[in-house]
């Protein structure tokens, strides 16, 4: 140790500070300071913390040295028209700038892509929701129409928008149902032609149709009526039901043509 001190004493040069330009200071206090609370020892493994401590040390040095230099009239700022050779060539600086730009662009692109993807997902969700809503509405509408047709509800409320309390209404109308249904004609036709089901025996007599004598006209049946405007006694019976024969009818047809 003494040897060291002796050597240092011999070796040391007594130069003006201007020549040496050395500053020995600790780092600047960190405004974001966890560093003040934690011990002075910077964890050397934590790269960011370490580099920040170096940075702050340099800052402290600069903050101290620049005013001193200015006092000693040593210029510190390079004037804008002073062109001289730089430590790194212009080409190198170009490369650096390119790299930074490309990095930034890549980041922006990835951000945009992420946003697009998120938007598309959201749009898809919204679309699905809208379609489902429409389907639901359609279904409800059709149900309401069917109900009305079948005579379960006589209210034409479904034509108006948005029945929110449709459940409540159904229960209210249960007691007031009247059986309108389709027309008699429609019902007959449905029975005859529609809804699948029995078609085979639709033209056969049933008990009801056999017992149905409503289409019986006794005067026509006994030929007692006023015989088509009252002809004479002669050939009345036969004349009434006189239908020309096949041959005659065909002749008539041909003549008509």
């Amino acid at each position: 140790k003494d040897g060291l001190k002796q050597c240092l004493a011999e070796f040391r040069q007594q130069l003006a500070w201007v020549e040496r330009l050395d500053v020995t200071l600790g780092p600047v206090a960190d405004p974001v300071s966890q560093s003040a609370s934690t011990s002075d020892a910077v964890d050397p493994e934590n790269d960011f913390q370490r580099e920040m401590s170096f940075y702050r040390q340099a800052q402290a040095a600069v903050l101290e040295a620049l005013p001193r230099l200015r006092k000693l009239q040593v210029p510190t700022r390079r004037p804008d028209d002073y062109f001289a050779e730089m430590a790194k060539s212009d080409q190198q600086m170009q490369k650096i700038r390119q790299k930074l730009k490309s990095k930034q662009e890549a980041m922006e692109r990835s951000e945009k892509a992420k946003q697009l993807r998120a938007m598309r997902k959201y749009g898809k969700k919204v679309q699905v929701e809208v379609l489902q809503r429409r389907q639901k509405e359609k279904k409800n509408m059709l149900n309401a129409v069917k109900k009305y047709q079948k005579g379960l509800s006589d209210k034409l409320d479904f034509l108006d928008e948005e029945q929110t309390s449709s459940q409540g209404n159904k229960k209210g109308n249960a007691s007031q149902r009247t059986k309108k249904g389709p027309n008699a004609k429609r019902r007959y036709k449905n029975q005859k032609f529609g809804f699948g089901g029995k078609k085979k025996g639709s033209k056969w007599n049933t008990k009801e149709s056999y017992n149905d004598v409503s289409s019986f006209q006794s005067k026509v049946a006994h030929n007692k009526g006023p015989g088509k405007g009252g002809r004479g006694g002669k050939g009345g019976k036969k004349a009434l039901n006189k239908r020309p024969g096949k041959r005659a009818r065909q002749k008539m047809k041909n003549r008509a043509r």
């Binding site: 240092l8 330009l21 500053v23 170096f54 040095a61 390079r78 001289a84």
Partner: protein, 298 residues
């Protein structure tokens, strides 16, 4: 003004350096206008030859890079005629050309030197600080220097090592950008003379790279050996100790030995049986014969 502080630094290396070291050397030469270059030194020559080389070039300081085993880089900093000198192990080298170093500075501008307060606390660090100032500081009014002060070298002591960084001063409010290069110095020894002489200080925390590699290998080997041992112990446990059962005298009571057969000695070789490939075939043939007979009879 007149250039009074006549410092000249000789920067050169031995043979066998890799590209990174070469670039680092070149970077130092660009950053320090008071430096001179020299050809590679042959490893055969002794170190004190360097003193003569420096004298020939009229330099009074020297930075010498020595590469060993194509892996380890050592750096000597020395004040050539009388000393002192220091040897370091260099690690984590990043050069000026790396694209992450975005700053730039005038070629030959004078640097500001910033030191950690720890440098003032220990005598060996104080000596090193003096050495750094004299070597890295560009003399004022040097013909190749630029008059502006626009960058700062920082020397920080962390983890028993000296970290070197170079920042560009952008604004007067001390906003900085790193220029590069970067390296980490691990002090080995300080000598009183230049490239020799009595040892003034030896770094107790220093571990030679060989030792470091050896320790790593040993630890790996130790792990492996431990695993083997554990396996062996497990094997022994599995086999288990053999339990000795006492002889039970009542066991023999119910044993009836089998009757001994009379020993027959065969003198004549027995007839060999005909080899029948199909056992059933014989029977088949017999049946057919019988049927035939039966048919002819009946």
């Amino acid at each position: 003004g007149k250039w009074k502080n006549k410092e000249r630094v000789l920067i050169f290396s031995s043979r066998g350096i890799n590209f990174r070291t070469r670039h680092l050397m070149q970077d130092l030469r660009t950053l320090m206008p008071h430096s001179k270059a020299d050809t590679k030194m042959d490893r055969k020559d002794q170190l004190f030859v360097i003193n003569e080389v420096c004298e020939m070039k009229n330099c009074n300081k020297c930075i010498f890079f020595e590469a060993k085993k194509k892996q380890d880089l050592y750096m000597w900093l020395s004040n050539t005629p009388q000393g002192p000198s220091a040897k370091f192990l260099v690690q984590n080298v990043h050069t000026l050309a790396e694209l992450k170093m975005t700053g730039n500075c005038l070629r030959g501008s004078r640097p500001l030197l910033s030191f950690d307060p720890i440098f003032d606390r220990e005598p060996h660090y104080a000596l090193l600080k003096e050495l750094f100032i004299q070597i890295f500081g560009t003399p004022q009014y040097h013909p190749k220097s630029q008059p502006f002060v626009d960058h700062v070298f920082t020397f920080t002591i962390t983890d028993e090592r000296i970290w070197f960084r170079n920042y560009q001063i952008i604004e007067e409010d001390a906003s900085l950008v790193e220029i590069g290069p970067r390296f980490v110095l691990n002090l080995i020894k300080i000598f009183q003379g230049s490239f020799g002489g009595p040892t003034l200080y030896e770094n107790p925390h220093y571990q030679s790279p060989n030792m470091h590699r050896r320790l790593v290998r040993l630890s790996v080997a130790a792990k492996f050996r431990e695993k083997q041992q554990v396996k062996e112990v497990q094997k022994i446990k599995k086999k288990g100790t053999k339990v000795l059962v006492e002889e039970d005298p009542t066991e023999v009571v119910f044993e009836t030995p089998a009757e001994e057969k009379p020993v027959e000695i065969q003198l004549v070789k027995p007839e060999s049986k005909p080899i029948v490939k199909d056992k059933k075939k014989l029977r088949k043939i017999q049946r057919k014969k019988q049927k035939k007979l039966f048919r002819t009879e009946g």
